[in-house]
Symmetry: C2
Subunit: 289 residues, 2 copies
């Protein structure tokens, strides 16, 4: 089974168990709508790639960690799209959760998906409880109040923005968690894996900023030009398109160079390159060579 199939099955299993037969029907639909749309699953794929490189001795736990990370990413998208933030109509080519189900169910579906992410880790850890301690710590830090995506999003509400913290937390945090959690799920020391995820995450953010100015809405599955429209910090606003491309290449090199020595290193390096190619708008992707 390839990584994408493992991830989709793990997400389906998490939702099935988390919603059970009892969840209020509209809430269940809203949660499924938020998670089961066509999506790149970039973070959980990275997690599984690192778990594989680390031996992946308990695949069910890696799958659960991958699903939990994606559930948290989906929850953050649902809340970021709310009227009080981006007031977005489209996400992943379909109506946002609050457009389809109303604002109240969007708030609740996001909350419930956060809870489900942590429950889902625990469901798959009874035989490896020490790994649950590690995974909960890694994933909590990546989404939490101090250095996680919640913090990253909150910088948009501050009069003085810490730009480095903003980028690091809003996108890079979940990628660092992906690489660290991949190692932790396989019972390995997560620390040497953090820098790969952080570099990739920062690269992902730059690529996202580039796509926001250089893609079509059709290619992107959501409206373009949103950073400028919302006055959000952006690598393109800061460095220009050329400068942002330079920065992206530098981050990619940093990511590739940071991969620890392991049997799967070559495979991981190839994945990093393919991923960046995929992320860039077509006209810029050709320049990665």
């Amino acid at each position: 089974m390839d990584a994408v199939q493992r991830i989709e099955q793990a997400l389906e299993a998490a939702l099935a168990r988390g919603l059970g037969a009892e969840a209020p029907p509209l809430l269940a639909q809203a949660a499924r709508h938020a998670v089961m749309a066509p999506a790149s699953r970039a973070r959980p794929r990275l997690l599984l790639a690192v778990a594989h490189a680390c031996g992946d001795d308990v695949p069910a736990l890696s799958d659960a960690a991958a699903a939990s990370l994606e559930l948290l990413h989906c929850a953050s998208l649902v809340h970021d799209d709310l009227p009080c933030f981006d007031d977005a109509d489209l996400r992943r080519g379909q109506p946002t959760v609050h457009r389809a189900f109303g604002e109240r169910l969007a708030v609740l579906a996001g909350d419930g998906l956060i809870v489900l992410a942590f429950e889902n880790l625990a469901w798959h850890a009874p035989r490896h409880p020490a790994r649950l301690v590690s995974l909960t710590g890694i994933i909590g830090r990546a989404v939490g109040l101090a250095t996680g995506i919640v913090a990253g999003q909150a910088w948009e509400c501050e009069p003085q923005v810490d730009l480095t913290a903003y980028h690091r937390q809003k996108t890079a945090a979940l990628f660092s968690a992906a690489t660290e959690a991949g190692a932790a799920a396989a019972g390995m020391d997560p620390d040497p894996w953090g820098r790969l995820g952080e570099n990739l995450g920062l690269a992902y953010q730059v690529a996202d900023d580039l796509r926001d100015v250089a893609s079509s809405a059709e290619e992107l599955g959501k409206p373009v030009g949103q950073d400028a429209a919302h006055g959000r910090p952006s690598a393109v606003a800061e460095l220009g398109v050329e400068g942002a491309m330079e920065r992206l290449l530098e981050l990619m090199r940093g990511a590739v160079d940071s991969i620890p020595d392991c049997p799967g290193a070559d495979q991981l390096r190839a994945m990093v390159r393919a991923e960046m190619q995929r992320l860039l708008p077509r006209q810029l992707g050709e320049r990665l060579g």
Copy 2:
């Protein structure tokens, strides 16, 4: 140190570690505002009372579980007060988080407190990882999509309300979690403790409904008459004040009768009675005798 001091210290410790030095300043203020208001701490007090009755062999873990439960309760209050739900101005005698900090920081503070609750369990469990598996499961179920407070709140968005599920999930779920988690934190089987929490939680909901019609806003610390104003299901609307009082007494008897045989049983029974006295509006509390 008494239970209330233990809880306040555990909450302060969780916030200090969760916010660190790095959290965006307004987000940190919003999170503290949501948690550190004068509050009854009914759920964590119940958790510690059961942990005590079960031997409380790792007090730091019981304290963490108590704090995590209260963090989740606070998070749900912040989101329930949002303009799309109750649009409340006052909570615990002070402005609601969205009134004081804006809607965006209220959404984010609630999200961040949910994450912190699970992180906080993991921080205190490295020497008892199997208890983390159990506690994450118990607490997740009490707040989650199927049978937790998120589900309970979502019944308000359904065309057909399952009233039993609504009451059980919106309030009783966190009380069941309090008694089960108190046992689990002390390394005991949580199952025999669920019914005590559930009866108390249902009683708490009936008392809350009674207070909503029979208290002053000053006594309550938030506006009264909100159930009728929002057309919410309520025991008073369903049974009248007298019928609701009957139901409350029945639930209290059920709670007292369900306490498992243990050294601290008498103390727990006395606590249940005192708690109900405290919860009722003054004019009704006198009738409990």
